[in-house]
């Protein structure tokens, strides 16, 4: 079986464009949404505020007999002047019993927080002190986190472009970055849709996930480029489309197996890992899938397209001296 990826490249490009477009539309809708006001639904990490999480102590007799009524919780919050908070009832992962409360609100100081907790204890039941969790983030800190993440991303792009143009050629490097942006956009777009539909929030771990995806995506692309470079060396006069097709097919087994083994770990974390890592694993699953797809179907076809247009299929020979010296 041989895939002729270059023949149907307009199909691959159309698929990617459609997904990215859907993501962008979702980001625009999110932006317009008064509850979100950002392309992706930001968590506390980025906008600041206070998040409180309580869980009832069910070892106390009678404490958990009544299910938590979300309206009661709302009433309590309103009485504290926190009517516009978002309130959720959280089910316990093991038992499925709804004994947790998650409240997200504007920045609360110590006193306000204690008042809220006491009022809730009175109406809902005693909470397990060990399981209480609260986070407060100032708005400037979130902005800084986002800024430093974005700068790190841009700097790593620049570094990757420089390294790849040194090891391969500039056009390889640029298309690797296009493939990488493709993966980042697809992941961000899908999470934007999740944010609209399921209320999924992106936190600082999401930035970490995007950065990991860029690393892996480039890795995938490099493996195929390496094969193209090698084939071009032995067969400098072949049609670029054939050479790229061959390279993709020869590395296909590796692409599938590597993606598969990585997915094994990621799915394990997604399904059975701690709550905190779930969305992180999901982002990586989407990103790595997009990464495998883009390195096979996008980066390689773009390179063919570019070289066919510019008649550069044979030009690679000029870059060979760099390749051999650096490869040995």
């Amino acid at each position: 079986m041989k895939l002729s990826i270059n023949k149907s490249r307009s199909l691959w490009w159309a698929i990617s464009s459609a997904i990215i477009l859907a993501g962008i539309i979702s980001m625009v809708i999110s932006w317009q949404n008064p509850n979100i006001k950002a392309p992706l639904r930001p968590s506390l990490d980025f906008v600041g505020g206070t998040r409180l999480q309580f869980e009832r102590d069910c070892t106390k007799p009678g404490n958990c007999d009544q299910p938590i009524d979300i309206n009661v919780v709302r009433e309590v919050a309103k009485a504290q002047g926190l009517g516009d908070s978002s309130i959720q009832i959280v089910a316990d992962k093991g038992t499925g019993a709804e004994n947790g409360i998650l409240i997200r609100t504007k920045n609360l100081d110590r006193e306000q927080r204690t008042n809220l907790q006491n009022a809730l204890t009175e109406k809902v039941g005693t909470f397990d002190e060990q399981k209480n969790q609260f986070d407060t983030v100032g708005p400037t800190l979130g902005a800084e986190l986002f800024r430093s993440g974005a700068i790190a991303l841009i700097v790593s792009f620049a570094g990757i472009i420089i390294y790849l143009s040194f090891r391969f050629q500039l056009d390889y490097a640029l298309f690797a970055i296009v493939a990488l942006l493709h993966d980042v956009f697809i992941t961000a777009g899908i999470f934007s849709i999740f944010g609209l539909v399921l209320g999924t929030e992106v936190d600082s771990l999401f930035i970490v996930a995007l950065l990991t995806i860029t690393g892996f995506s480039v890795n995938d692309t490099v493996v195929i480029y390496d094969r193209i470079r090698e084939t071009l060396k032995t067969n400098p006069n072949g049609a670029i489309a054939d050479i790229v097709d061959d390279a993709v097919n020869q590395t296909l087994g590796r692409s599938i197996n590597t993606t598969f083994t990585t997915m094994l770990s990621l799915f394990a974390i997604f399904l059975f890992g701690g709550e905190t890592l779930k969305n992180f694993a999901l982002a990586l699953i989407i990103g790595f899938t997009a990464g495998a797809y883009s390195s096979i179907f996008i980066a390689s076809t773009l390179l063919t397209f570019w070289r066919e247009r510019n008649g550069q299929a044979t030009m690679v020979v000029s870059g060979e001296s760099i390749d051999t010296s650096a490869g040995n």
Binding site: N132, V137, D220, T258, T262
Partner: protein, 470 residues
């Protein structure tokens, strides 16, 4: 073969070293895994201090340290972050209410006068305080929380008692008058602390010292109402006090002690307000839940990968599995050596780097198969599998490390930990996936029973099989 043998010995030595390291150096768990609170303190600029420099940040950190130590929390971690922030981690503290209360606000430094006829009392209190402090240090090492709290209360009472022996000057000589303070060497091995007041402060200080000179009573230097130094003033200053605004505090200071006191005084004198910018708490059980399930998930995923490798790649897969286990050992030991604190993103980075290590082997084995299918001999196929796959492994890993470096230098907190573990993992994987696998592979090749191409690649064409078997 000689080279293979020395490599094999090297690998064995590394494994033993790694096991020793793992057994002796424990990897500390991050706050997100063990539970506790983390407070980020933002140091604000003010009219007097328009920019925060490192010197000022260090001073404020000292003040924060003093306040946190007053809480009696075990193993608090206080470090500066960036140019104007201080991170405080309080393991095991679920409700940082107390910490919040003491952390906000500007430091209060004051020079006070000792009340007459209290010398013996002061001496007694200071002696008992020294004892309590020693006891506190010992208790912190143990886990006896009740005893720590009890001792802390005693210390508080002692502080209060000491504070009552002093009174403020009129007007009070407070931190804002102090221009600078630093430790410097005097004669021999001794150090002293130099202090300098502004003009108004100099005047107040002269009055203060004039009253105390030769009486045997001390100047009480208080930071946040705790006595940090109690120097006496010599009789020769009885006429005019120490004038000119400068003075030195002598004593049997070591360089460390003199510098510490200098930094404390400077920090106390800073008119910069601090604000708590972020609070994060993780309940202890919540941390435990996520660590256990994440670790189980990671191990489960890893076992699946190991099984897949053997099923798909046969003998090389088995060898890669051994190399992968070596990899896990070495990486863990590297984390311990680098003093990495394990956090959730750190675990994620580790698991992902395992993926990278597997990828390197997949690349090599796929290549070996191709060469076998092309009709090359087994030995040559293995050789060129490693040789040809190397450039893509190298390029792939270097790009990952570039991304990690950007994250490490520019990212903050979480991102940093993740970048470091991933980069270290990738570096170790270059060794384990290439050198280890290769050495073990050729070791296997020396055993005739294992020298069968079918063990390397199933479903080889018949003709090939005959050819390569020779």
């Amino acid at each position: 073969m000689q080279r293979q043998r020395s490599l094999l010995i090297l690998i064995l030595v590394l494994i033993i070293a790694a096991i020793t390291v793992i057994a002796t150096i424990p990897i500390p768990l991050g706050l997100d895994l063990r539970g506790g609170s983390q407070l980020t303190i933002q140091v604000k600029t003010s009219a007097e201090i328009p920019t925060i420099t490192e010197r000022e940040l260090e001073g404020v950190k000292k003040v924060v340290e003093g306040r946190i130590n007053g809480l009696g929390v075990s193993e608090p971690l206080i470090q500066t972050v960036g140019t104007d922030k201080i991170l405080v981690q309080l393991p095991g503290v679920n409700d940082p209410e107390q910490a919040e209360r003491v952390l906000g606000g500007t430091a209060q430094l004051e020079f006070r006068t000792q009340k007459p006829n209290t010398e013996t009392q002061l001496f007694a209190f200071q002696t008992s305080r020294a004892e309590l402090k020693v006891k506190q240090e010992e208790l912190r090492k143990s886990a006896d929380k009740a005893a720590i709290v009890k001792n802390q209360e005693d210390l508080q009472k002692n502080n209060q008692a000491i504070a009552e022996l002093f009174e403020s000057t009129k007007p009070p000589l407070i931190g804002k008058y102090l221009k600078d303070a630093y430790g410097e060497p005097s004669q021999g091995n001794n150090w002293h602390v130099a202090i300098r007041f502004d003009q108004e402060g100099g005047q107040l200080f002269a009055n203060l010292t004039k009253n105390l000179a030769g009486t045997g009573r001390s100047i009480g230097v208080f930071l946040d109402n705790e006595l940090i130094s109690a120097p006496t003033v010599g009789i020769e200053f009885a006429a005019a006090g120490i004038s000119g605004g400068s003075a030195i505090i002598t004593g049997r200071f070591t360089a460390q002690q003199a510098n510490d006191l200098g930094v404390q005084l400077r920090g106390g004198a800073l008119p910069v307000p601090v604000e708590i910018a972020e609070i994060r708490t993780v309940g202890a059980t919540l941390g435990q839940d996520s660590i256990t399930s994440s670790i189980y998930a990671g191990i489960g995923g890893l076992i699946l990968v190991l099984i897949f490798m053997v099923v798909y790649y046969r003998l090389p897969g088995l060898i890669a599995d051994i190399a992968l286990l070596i990899y896990a050992l070495l990486t863990w030991a590297t984390f311990a050596l680098f003093g990495i604190t394990l956090t959730l993103p750190g675990i994620a980075g580790f698991i992902l780097s395992i993926g990278m290590a597997v990828d390197a082997n997949v690349l090599i084995f796929e290549r070996t198969r191709e060469e076998l299918q092309a009709g090359k001999s087994l030995y040559r196929s293995i050789e060129s599998g490693f040789y040809r796959a190397f450039s893509s492994i190298l390029d792939g890993n270097v790009t990952t490390v570039i991304a990690c470096a950007a994250l490490f230098w520019l990212g903050a907190g979480l991102v940093k930990g993740f970048a470091l573990t991933l980069a270290l993992g990738v570096a170790v994987s270059m060794f384990s996936a290439i050198t280890c696998t290769r050495t073990l592979m050729f070791l296997a090749y020396t055993i005739p029973a294992l020298r069968k191409p079918e063990l390397f690649c199933p479903n080889l064409p018949r003709s090939n099989k005959a050819e390569v078997a020779q």
